[in-house]
């Protein structure tokens, strides 16, 4: 299932709903800090959660800003990029959040992988949206998977993020696109989210000549982005 993003600004309602969630949580965590009976450990956990949730909200606001500027592709230049580096950077940046949520990620990659032509910032944001999504929807005791696969005939590298949670509807992307152009009824998208992160990712993908899609499984989903292999530096396969 592939999707091609349209350069439309996501609905304000969808953005407001997505931001309300982390802000409500930050507020509740802050209220807890007023409790004088908290132990030092409990206080430390709450403060860490406030910090990580704030970072998540800031990632979203940054994504929204970039989505608004997608009309000017010169802001997002393409260059040869090492897929392994992109994945390692992602896992390093998100490690505190993943661990705080009690989750884990396994990373699978071929030994040799070609460079891809992309924009490191937008590609990283697509993957961090996938990872945020996977963290939300992977049940406890399950390990998420970040996979790199090379499709030489199709001249692409696929970055896939597998979550192990509830199945998604076949009309998932259609529901998200429809939801973004109206006052989104969030219950019609994958529950607990308006799908804004995935929608923005589809817009980012279009700007960097990539495609996102989802593979449905009975016990979850694999969200992926297909990125073209760089033809300029084929001699320098990693």
């Amino acid at each position: 299932m592939d999707v091609e993003g349209k350069n439309n600004v996501p609905s304000v309602i969808a953005a407001a709903h997505e931001l309300k969630s982390p802000l409500s949580l930050i507020r509740q965590l802050s209220l807890i800090l007023e409790d004088e009976s908290l132990t030092a450990d409990q206080r430390s956990v709450s403060i860490n959660r406030i910090y990580l949730t704030t970072q998540k909200a800031l990632r979203l606001t940054s994504d929204l800003t970039r989505a608004y500027n997608l009309n000017d592709p010169t802001l997002f230049p393409l260059s040869p990029i090492n897929p392994l580096q992109v994945c390692n950077d992602l896992l390093y940046d998100m490690k505190p959040y993943i661990e705080a949520k009690g989750k884990s990620v396994a990373f699978y990659s071929p030994t040799k992988i070609p460079l891809v032509i992309s924009n490191a910032d937008l590609l990283g944001r697509i993957l961090s949206n996938f990872l945020d999504n996977a963290i939300n929807y992977t049940f406890d005791n399950e390990k998420m998977q970040l996979n790199l696969k090379v499709y030489k005939k199709e001249n692409k590298v696929r970055f896939g993020l597998r979550d192990f949670g509830p199945a998604i509807k076949a009309s998932y992307f259609e529901d998200i696109k429809n939801g973004m152009t109206k006052n989104a009824e969030a219950v019609h998208a994958r529950p607990a989210s308006s799908g804004l992160g995935i929608y923005i990712s589809s817009q980012f993908a279009e700007i960097i000549n990539s495609k996102i899609g989802v593979i449905r499984h009975r016990n979850g989903a694999t969200f992926y982005v297909d990125v073209p292999i760089s033809s300029q530096l084929k001699l320098f396969e990693i």
Binding site: S21, L23, L25, D35, G102, P166, P191, A192
Partner: protein
């Protein structure tokens, strides 16, 4: 004997924050992260009250509330809805599903939840 409250909430950190406040207030709490777990936990835990978010991983609270309403013994368990969508909802529309109170996550405090719980006890 402490009241038993089932908290159906898929945001783990939000659930733990609210649960901690309710435990300090003397309630016995069980957290269900999704609707399927909630159905099982209702049978095992026998809550007096259910506090529920509307948007849950896997299915919405409406499907869970419909399920509860279809069982005579479960349909009498009062439900407090606690959601970021509360400002868009009307409690009267939710009453047929067993909802007795509606709280907005963005503005509520733990004391508001305790107030609603005590209100239910007085009914």
């Amino acid at each position: 004997m402490a009241d038993k409250i089932l908290l159906v909430e898929d945001d783990q950190w939000f659930a733990e924050t609210i649960a901690e406040s309710l435990k300090v207030a003397g309630y016995e709490i069980k957290i269900s992260p999704h609707a399927v777990a909630a159905i099982i936990d209702i049978d095992d835990f026998n809550p007096n009250i259910i506090i529920m978010d509307l948007l849950l991983t896997g299915s919405t609270a409406f499907s869970l509330m419909n399920e509860l309403q279809s069982h005579e013994d479960l349909s009498t368990i009062p439900i407090i809805i606690c959601s970021n969508l509360s400002a868009q909802l009307n409690l009267d529309d939710l009453k047929p599903y067993g909802a007795k109170a509606l709280l907005d996550k963005a503005t509520m405090t733990p004391k508001d939840i305790i107030y609603e719980i005590k209100n239910l006890k007085n009914e």
